[in-house]
């Protein structure tokens, strides 16, 4: 009994292959599909009663690509060229067998055809798509660090020309049916009800079982290879843009360029081999594993509530209270109202509270102007937010989030005022980014219901929410906080209490290392460029300018007061102190920081840095700077694991990439350590510690872990 498809031959001798992978919401490439499709192709080829075939799907989609969990498991088994090719080649070969089976095959694309789905359709001789607005067509493999390895890099350029094909494959763009038809990726668009009949009619009436690229005299449309000036232009410009965008950190885009460049100059059979070899190099790359594991498997799991305590009934916030209508409060109000919640937005004056709602008004206005939102829906969102000043308005809230000034006394005050009115079972959450939750919960009469829900700024753009469990926080409270984040369709991670929790704490090591490098006389351009080339979205000095040096200064002073004798000055402190106290360059908002912000043109590093922090005669290698900036973050994350601030490796990885932009190619801070290798990482940290200071010293715990070869995942 087939598990993935059925094959039925009609009176005209047309075999209808209907994809329907059992136990999956969508059709995906699995080992069983490979086997059963292989048998079907063999039958079409050999059964004289079969004149041709139509491939369609019984599910809403045609086929959505490969099963990423299967890919991730397979990745662990792939360790050399032959195991990689053994994985890469069969599907490629199967699709080639399909298009050379000698009988016409049409794809009846009823819904979304992505990745392997589109590649299957491209291996058919004719493509009919149902006029379905939900359909997405594309080759998005690059987004998981792969290339379309079932002929996608070979057939698409042969079909639509290299420039268009490269754009689609390198960007991983999704097209709708009309766009796919305009690009001549699909031949016919018909109403859904006549899809299969139209495909069958093509087989009966026109059925040509020879692909264009197998016909005599075929030439790649628009030219190919190193002798065609158009193609030379495409590859010359394309390679530079790939280098610019990837900074040589992501191997997939350049592998795609090469597979297309080399593969389109040779017969397709050779091209497919070349493609499989390049796919193999990606299957052997840790970056591929890192991206699949963190960005898809673990992110998807987190969004489905992987960290939610079991046994707590599902909950839903219908009315949310927000204390403080500043930037964070206003942002939280917007995303919550957009998710359908009633929001009581409280501040000390009606004006302030109303100003918080204005933020939502502006955002929905933009969406309306762009046609993403109807005016009616926009109005609904805005009216869900009620600006209030009286705590009584919070009486019906299931959840209240405070986003007031980072001051313990103020926070304690609003906590007490809120708890006086909200139901006994309601959850009280703090959006603090720095103050320990357990301490804040001391102001609460019911600390079991007290939790940290840390949003990132700007709230509507940042997908991560860091949930902080205080000492007294109950499992039920945690579950309800996660339910709320899932209602927002954001990605929750769960961490335990600590100064700066997880994200702020580790991020601080990055900016500190940047200032330390400057203090040592490393050129600021080198620091900033190397950070960006390593994949950080913003250099450490630029990001300090963004958050303002003033704020960093105050946080440091607060920490010093809080810790008393236990305080150890940070290695970057002299720079921060000099910038703030002596040079009065307080950050971007103040018009000047490490950078100048001219009224016109781009920001430029302040020329005065050269005299404030004189450059050392000998500058370090870029690789050394890069290592310091990345290792210090990874090492601090390992300390968070040791201190049980972080208890799940997936949380550490997701938090680092989605929270502060740790480079995605690493898979996150802990995946990065595993990419380097634990022993190598520890050894290198020791070398860095000897050279640059004890902040790089790995703990005995980490050393022991490395010695045992115990990874984090």
């Amino acid at each position: 009994m087939n598990q993935t498809l059925s094959l039925a031959v009609d009176a005209d001798g047309i075999a209808l292959i209907t994809l329907d992978v059992q136990g999956r919401p969508m059709n995906v490439v699995t080992p069983a599909l490979l086997e059963e499709l292989g048998a079907a192709v063999e039958r079409i080829r050999t059964d004289a009663a079969i004149k041709g075939a139509v491939i369609t799907s019984a599910k809403a989609d045609f086929m959505a690509g490969a099963d990423l969990k299967w890919l991730l498991e397979a990745h662990a088994q792939i360790h050399d060229a032959s195991t990689a090719m053994a994985f890469a080649w069969p599907l490629n070969q199967l699709f080639r067998q399909l298009e050379t089976c000698g009988k016409p095959v049409a794809a009846a694309i009823n819904g979304t055809a992505l990745g392997g789905g589109l590649e299957l359709a491209l291996a058919c001789h004719h493509r009919v798509a149902a006029d379905n607005p939900a359909t997405r067509i594309g080759l998005p493999e690059v987004l998981v660090g792969l290339l379309p390895g079932a002929g996608g890099t070979q057939r698409l350029p042969r079909l639509i020309g290299i420039p268009d094909a490269l754009r689609l494959i390198i960007e991983g763009t999704h097209l709708n049916v009309a766009e796919a038809a305009a690009k001549k990726i699909v031949h016919q668009v018909v109403p859904p009800e006549s899809l299969v009949a139209t495909a069958k009619a093509w087989v009966l009436e026109h059925g040509n079982p020879v692909q264009p690229w197998d016909a005599k005299g075929f030439k790649v449309p628009g030219g190919a290879g190193g002798m065609d000036p158009r193609s030379v232009q495409t590859f010359m410009g394309g390679t530079a843009l790939v280098a610019k965008r990837t900074n040589h950190n992501y191997p997939a885009p350049i592998a795609i360029m090469s597979a297309v460049y080399e593969g389109t100059q040779v017969p397709i059979d050779t091209g497919l081999k070349i493609e499989s070899r390049y796919l193999s190099t990606l299957l052997l790359s840790p970056v591929t594993r890192n991206m699949i594991r963190t960005l898809f498997v673990n992110k998807g799991a987190a969004e489905k509530g992987a960290r939610r305590p079991t046994g707590v009934p599902a909950s839903k916030v219908t009315t949310l209270g927000i204390l403080g209508a500043g930037m964070m409060g206003a942002g939280i109000a917007y995303v919550s109202a957009k998710a359908g919640m009633q929001v009581k937005l409280l501040d000390t004056s009606t004006e302030k509270a109303a100003k918080g709602r204005e933020y939502t008004e502006k955002l929905v206005e933009k969406d309306v102007a762009r046609g993403r939102l109807t005016p009616v829906k926009a109005m609904e969102i805005v009216t869900r937010i009620t600006p209030v000043t009286d705590y009584q308005a919070l009486a019906g809230c299931e959840l209240v989030i405070e986003a007031v000034f980072e001051d313990r006394a103020i926070k304690a005050d609003v906590t007490r005022k809120t708890e006086a009115v909200i139901p006994a079972g309601a959850v009280f959450a703090s959006n603090t980014s720095t103050l320990p939750i357990t301490g804040l919960a001391e102001a609460s009469a019911r600390p079991a219901h007290f939790i940290g829900i840390h949003f990132f700024s700007p709230v509507e753009k940042m997908p991560l929410v860091e949930i902080i469990v205080g000492r007294e926080t109950s499992q039920e409270t945690l579950a309800r906080a996660i339910d709320y984040v899932m209602q927002l369709r954001k990605t929750p991670i769960v961490v335990n209490d600590s100064r700066g929790f997880y994200t702020s704490r580790v991020f601080g090591t990055y900016t500190n290392e940047g200032m330390t490098l400057l203090h040592e006389g490393v050129s600021p351009a080198l620091i900033e460029n190397v950070a960006k080339q390593a994949g950080m979205p913003v250099g450490p000095l630029a990001v300090l300018d963004e958050v303002t040096l003033e704020l960093a200064y105050h946080v440091t002073q607060q920490t010093r007061r809080d810790l008393g004798d236990a305080y150890r000055p940070l290695s970057g402190w002299p720079v921060l102190q000099k910038m703030v106290e002596e040079l009065k360059r307080l950050g971007k908002r103040h018009g000047q920081g490490f950078y100048d912000y001219p009224a016109e043109g781009r920001k430029r590093l302040w020329s005065g840095l050269a005299s404030a922090f004189p450059a050392a005669a000998v500058q370090p290698e870029a690789e050394e700077v890069r290592k310091r900036l990345l290792y210090i973050q990874a090492l601090e994350t390992a300390r968070c694991v040791e201190e049980r601030v972080v208890t799940a490796a997936a949380d550490a990885d997701l938090g680092s990439i989605l929270g502060w932009g740790f480079p995605a190619w690493t898979g996150g801070t802990l995946s990065y350590i595993e990419t380097v290798g634990l022993s190598a990482f520890v050894a290198e940290c020791k070398r860095l510690a000897a050279r640059y200071g004890e902040r790089f010293t790995p703990s005995p715990w980490l050393e022991a872990r490395a010695a045992r070869g115990e990874t984090f995942h």
């Binding site: 190193g226 002798m227 000036p229 193609s231 030379v232 590859f235 010359m236 410009g237 394309g238 390679t239 530079a240 843009l241 790939v242 280098a243 610019k244 965008r245 900074n247 040589h248 350049i254 360029m257 090469s258 460049y261 080399e262 050129s523 600021p524 351009a525 080198l526 900033e528 460029n529 190397v530 080339q533 781009r602 430029r604 590093l605 500058q619 870029a622 700077v625």
Partner: protein, 403 residues
């Protein structure tokens, strides 16, 4: 080891390298043939004695494909026994051809050779030959390929050469070239190009703009901004030079070498063959050398190649009377002067490619002749000829004038 002597140098004037340029109508093979014919006629050469004709060419495809010097020798009515070969060391091809022709003599395997170069940039545009370095993604990616102009601007940025610095250099190149032409200092080597009826098409360098002012140069738009910023090449270059905050684009059509058509050749031989043929040796080749340098910035090869050739010759920079460094871009020369400690009045004394143009494969042979003429005019002894080269190379030759 035998000595290689220079007996004669000739070059065509350089025509503007576009379809309105004077030499655009002349096929490259005819340019080369006229130059070879001139060498024969000026020296009453028994061409059957020529052991080899070595030519450089940077875009050896189409009309410049298939071994131009051999075919040109046939067209120039050389003896059919004269072989030819073509080589490519990008912008130093013409000098490399002279070096190779000299090497055959120095190795004792030839008595009389011709080294030279050809490039008709108006007919076979730069880049016509493609190349994996540019078009193959795996190659361009691994080698951090960026076009030369990006490297020139990067040199200016790294060494603090301002737009005014590079423009001022360009202005002086124009002034020097104009003065040299006015005074006839190029006359000895110039071979006017003729049409098939024998009428002169071009007898002086066509690319020059002697009236150019610093203000006019300053008004030109930087040529490589778009390539750098929109096509990603600045980012590629900064990946190799992360200590540079951003590249300042200072080079324009006015302070970079001009695109032109032209051909040049040098007659070399042993002392004995000169005596036998009654030719007077004008100079001898003291040494030559090439090096590889960082390919992304691409244009920093001259100084290391100069140091290498000086060492090979057992000389110091101070032993060189005149330097001739191809003016690919103004920043290349400014860096070289700074790096080698050469005052401006000892380098490119009669201007260079910024004023007169750079017919890629021919330039090396041309500027060797230019500087030899000048050594003779000034009664000086030694010159070092040098070019920056694509993909990060440098080629240098030292010549010594014979009294």
């Amino acid at each position: 080891m035998a000595e290689a002597y220079i007996y004669d140098c000739v070059r065509t004037p350089r025509g503007r390298g576009r379809n309105t340029g004077a030499l655009h109508e002349v096929p490259p093979i005819q340019l080369a043939a006229q130059v070879l014919a001139a060498l024969r006629e000026r020296n009453q050469l028994d061409t059957s004695l020529v052991d080899d004709v070595v030519f450089g060419c940077v875009s050896p495809v189409g009309e410049q494909g298939a071994v131009v010097p051999r075919v040109a020798a046939i067209i120039a009515d050389y003896d059919q026994n004269v072989p030819g070969k073509q080589l490519n060391r990008f912008c130093a091809s013409g000098l490399e051809a002279v070096n190779t022709a000299a090497a055959q003599i120095m190795a004792g395997q030839s008595d009389l050779t011709i080294g030279g170069g050809i490039e008709s940039m108006s007919r076979v545009p730069m880049g016509s030959d493609g190349g994996a370095w540019v078009s193959d993604p795996a190659v361009a990616y691994k080698s951090y390929f960026a076009p030369q102009g990006i490297g020139a601007d990067l040199i200016a940025t790294m060494h603090g050469f301002s737009r005014r610095d590079v423009d001022a250099y360009a202005c002086e190149s124009q002034r020097r070239a104009a003065e040299a032409w006015k005074n006839g200092w190029f006359q000895r080597s110039i071979v006017p190009v003729k049409d098939i009826l024998g009428d002169v098409i071009l007898d002086r360098d066509e690319h020059m703009r002697p009236q150019t002012t610093l203000e006019e140069l300053g008004a030109l738009k930087p040529a490589f901004t778009q390539m750098g910023e929109d096509f990603g090449f600045d980012a590629v270059a900064l990946q190799r030079y992360p200590g540079v905050e951003q590249i300042e684009h200072v080079h324009t059509g006015g302070n970079s070498s001009g695109i032109v058509d032209g051909c040049g050749a040098v007659l070399l031989g042993t002392k004995e063959i000169g005596e036998r043929l009654g030719l007077k040796p004008r100079a001898r080749i003291r040494a030559f050398a090439s090096i590889g340098s960082e390919p992304t910035i691409m244009l920093t090869g001259p100084a290391p190649s100069a140091r290498k050739v000086l060492k090979r010759a057992g000389m110091n920079a101070s032993d060189i009377d005149l330097f001739e460094l191809n003016e690919a871009f103004a920043s290349v020369v400014l860096l070289y002067m700074q790096d080698m400690g050469i005052p401006h009045d000892r380098i490119n004394v009669n201007g260079g490619a910024i004023a007169m143009g750079h017919p890629l494969g021919a330039t090396g042979a041309m500027i060797l002749g230019t500087v030899l003429d000048e050594l003779e005019r000034r009664g000086l002894g030694t010159a070092l000829i040098n070019l920056c080269v694509g993909a990060g190379m440098g080629t240098a030759t030292i010549i010594e004038r014979m009294n």
